[in-house]
């Protein structure tokens, strides 16, 4: 049993324990959830070890045990440089979500925290599963708690949003299940590493037609989750209606399941199909970037605004992935993390405002900076991070994506860059309308951040600055792993690339990019 198994199963254990706590002891349940989720976070920090202090191989913390013997389903988990950070993002945000919900969730407290921990279990599992079937199991398991979080603790139209969310995702998942099973019938295994090896050495050789269909089966499932325009319509509903913690987990982590799936499975397994489809996928991503930003601009509801900004930001991630360049891949992964931190923070702060004023309408605010200077400050930093101000996290990701895209097609990058400009427009305008101006009578009575809320905001602010300045803490481990994925994808482009080793990485990249990669 490795540390990773511990990190995966601790949330499940905590979930089961909560079920046995008496439901009257709401404070005990809150404290227990906080301690448990913090313990999981601390344990997960140990996963960084090999990446910062050691010399990791392709995958670390690998466990491979049989689960079902026929068909051969295995409990095969491991992490690489991509999974590592997504797992950490999950384990970091869960305790923050516990804190966020400390006061705002007053009814059915026990069930709320139980579902939150079950959600953490599913999400961590998704990012670590290296068996396609196991991946699917975790993928579906994470769906159920989120459905309840939205449906029970959400706002007015919560039920509609919850059902829409569930059915949309389910439809996609079913296509993916057909794809996974079809692949199994060809390969005789669900194991990701074996399938990848088989596809590369030709022992598994689906025809091009089959590859295309398989690619689409996986792609639609992931595109719904991302969500890629025009499959995004469930997202604004789910985000707006979910309770703050639900919005945070949904935006910060669950959407990454889609982009992670694209990067881990869709693109490397079916590189030829992915390349052939990249034209229209990139087009959809760019439409999403611009459309999301434009729609965000006209929203009267703060949560809806942030939700549409997610559509826009996630478009960058898809764009980076389908540029098939090292920079694009690195930027996409980095942008997944950035979006997780900064959009998560935005949802949390909108939640702070909602807790005070009980309204999500921008019109209900104005002049908030006067009575709440501290909130105004942290909101400002988060907003600037979201816009992509240099020295803050999003800038790095967006830059890498745009650079990677520009190497392939300069026009794609130019159109996508419009999204960056628009993001400044809608964010600054939001900030201006909410925080500046004259405070109304109701607003001027509001209280500023307390200690709990500080404890939630400060770690995120630190991360934004850290990720914007000391990128070396993150990027090398990401690059090592994205290069492994890029290898076979590039091989299919008749560009000769050796299976990437960390040492030869930079030389290889600059050969590819024909320019020094100084962004990192």
């Amino acid at each position: 049993m490795t540390l990773l198994d511990l990190v995966i199963f601790l949330p499940l254990a905590a979930f089961l324990l909560i079920l046995f706590l008496p439901k009257e002891h709401v404070d005990g349940i809150r404290r227990f959830s906080l301690v448990a989720s913090l313990a999981i976070f601390v344990a997960s920090l140990g996963l960084i070890g090999p990446y910062w202090f050691g010399n990791p191989g392709k995958y670390v913390f690998e466990t491979d045990l049989p689960w079902v013997n026929s068909p051969a389903i295995r409990y095969h988990v491991a992490i690489d440089g991509i999974s590592l950070w997504l797992v950490l993002l999950t384990t970091l945000l869960t305790p923050l979500c516990v804190l966020v919900s400390w006061k705002s969730v007053q009814k059915r407290v026990k069930e709320f925290f139980a579902f939150l921990l079950l959600l953490e279990f599913g999400l961590i599992g998704v990012f670590c599963a290296f068996d396609l079937f196991l991946f699917f199991v975790f993928w579906e398991v994470s769906l159920v708690p989120m459905y309840f979080l939205i449906g029970v603790w959400g706002h007015e139209r919560r039920i509609y949003a919850a059902v829409k969310f569930f059915v949309y995702t389910m439809a996609g998942s079913m296509l993916m299940l057909v794809g996974i099973t079809y692949l199994y019938n060809q390969a005789g295994t669900f194991d990701y590493a074996k399938i990848m090896a088989g596809l590369q050495n030709g022992s598994i050789a689906p025809t091009y037609q089959e590859q295309l269909w398989l690619f689409l089966a996986f792609f639609i499932a992931f595109a719904i989750k991302v969500p890629l325009f025009p499959l995004h319509t469930w997202l604004p509903d789910a985000h707006v209606e979910a309770p703050t913690a639900g919005s945070v987990m949904l935006a910060s982590v669950m959407l990454k399941m889609g982009t992670y799936g694209l990067l881990r499975f869709c693109v490397p397994m079916f590189p030829v199909a992915a390349r052939n489809c990249s034209g229209w996928i990139v087009t959809l991503a760019i439409i999403g970037i611009i459309y999301g930003a434009l729609v965000a601009m006209v929203q009267p509801n703060m949560k809806k605004l942030v939700a549409y900004s997610s559509v826009s930001h996630l478009g960058f991630v898809v764009l980076g992935i389908f540029s098939f360049t090292q920079q694009g891949f690195d930027g996409a992964v980095y942008q997944m993390l950035n979006h997780g931190v900064s959009t998560g923070a935005l949802f949390i702060m909108v939640g702070f405002l909602y807790d005070r004023r009980h309204s999500l309408e921008i019109d209900a605010y104005g002049g908030v900076a006067t009575p709440l200077p501290k909130l105004a400050t942290v909101f400002m930093i988060t907003m600037l991070a979201s816009i992509g101000l240099p020295m803050l996290n999003n800038f790095v990701g967006e830059f890498l994506v745009l650079q990677g895209t520009a190497l392939v097609n300069f026009w794609w990058a130019s159109f996508a860059a419009i999204g960056v400009i628009l993001s400044a427009c809608y964010m600054l305008w939001l900030y201006q309308r909410v925080f500046f101006g004259k405070a109304s009578a109701e607003v001027s009575l509001l209280k500023d951040l307390d200690l709990r809320e500080y404890a939630i905001s400060v770690p995120l602010i630190i991360l934004m600055v850290w990720m914007g300045t000391f990128t070396q803490s993150f990027i090398p481990s990401i690059s090592t792993s994205t290069a492994v994925i890029l290898g076979p994808v590039d091989a299919k482009r008749d560009v000769h690339v050796h299976n990437a080793l960390p040492a030869s990485l930079h030389a290889q990249q600059s050969a590819l990019a024909k320019e020094p990669v100084d962004a990192r």
């Binding site: 059902v163 059915v167 296509l175 057909v178 099973t181």
Partner: protein, 488 residues
Amino acid sequence: MPANFAPTAIDYLRILPEILMIITGTLIMVLEPLIGGNKRNAFSSVTLVGFIAALVAAVAANDYPGLSFSNMLIVDGFATYFRVLVIGVGIFTVLSSAQYLRREHAASAEYYALLLFSVAGQCVMATANELIMIFIGLEISSIATYILAGYLRDDKRNNEAALKYFLLGSFATAFLLYGIAWIYGTTGSTNLGEIRSFLMNGGGARNLTLAGTAAALMFVGFAFKVSAAPFQIWAPDVYQGAPAPVTLFMSAGPKAAAFAVFMRVFIVAFGPITNRWEPFVWSSALLTMVIGNFAALLQTNIKRLMAYSSIAHAGYVMVAIAAHNQVGVAAAMFYLAAYAFMNIGAFAVITHFSRQGEKYVNVEDLAGLGWKQPVTAALFSIFLLSLIGVPLTGGFFGKFYIFKAALDANLVWLSILGLLNSAVAAYYYLRILVVMYMHEPGESTLTLEPLSPGIRTTLWAAALGTLILGIFPSLLLNFAANSSSLGK
């Protein structure tokens, strides 16, 4: 070859479960007039003992596999599997019925006797190796079930259900019998193995056409019993009208037994003419899934909703039969067990909730159950999630094996359409979850009494079964896979 009419001891051992159940049933009927009115609760205990003895006998008989009674019966893994399954359904039905019958002032011996006879008939179906035995088993099971459907004879809906079930059922059985006559006329035999070898050796195009027609006629009979489209019309009315515990029974037991003979006849006897029957099983499977799932979307009565859900699930099993390979048979076997668990659980909750006169059987009535009786609602949620096909439940693995078998048989479109259907299905199961957890409790929920011991046992056992099949499917799947060859 002269048949040997002197059965051996092993022959009796092989049919011991049926003997035990018939004896218990008869005994109860005889004893009823002799026992005072206040001791009638004892009948359920006696029935339980009878079922458990039969269960033990069925398991023991598995150690003596082979043909008996002049090749009329066969005991093999497949037969044992279905015998255990239907007897298990019988046990759960008894556990869920006691409180219901007391509530309706209808506790009597014949209910339990009919239940025992019906299950005995299903066991005969599971072990039958020739068409006449299949017909006899089917009739024993069906006639008992017709009466059970109308058991509360003062209730209008019960009468309607029984009458519909009986009339349409007789009609369907006539088709089956006609098919049997055709096949006897064509091949000169009613033994499944002999029919198979006759068809294997060709016998000319005319004979194959005749056999194909016979297969179509018998398909009508079986499709009716498993409520597959286009012969599913009776199911919603009967499921809705029949007493809730009887619906629990009908949706799991007779259906599993009917699928058992369906598979035995079509895979063994009609195996050589697969190309003739595969298209109509294929289209019936698709039609069944679509009709079941889409009609269920519109239902407000939960029994009717579950009836359509049961139709849809029959469609999934039909997909496995359409795959007509060994994996498909194993998948169908596994699925029927998983389906029995989750469906029994769901109907046990409905039985518990319905109250006297089945006053509360609308989906809306369940409002707030999640907060009034959290354990009941949580167990119900497990069954519903399993019906949707969420991983870590038996329903998911069952569905997965079925569609894997279909993909093995290159039924790609059927798989895609079937799985998309289950995304549609998610909607109406979720509606029940929505009502239970996201609506405020109303009068129907607030007046709910605690679970009766029998239903509590059923719920926990069914939930445990659903989860075990979802987390360790190998336990059952290995057995199913080993007995899915059907001794071809």
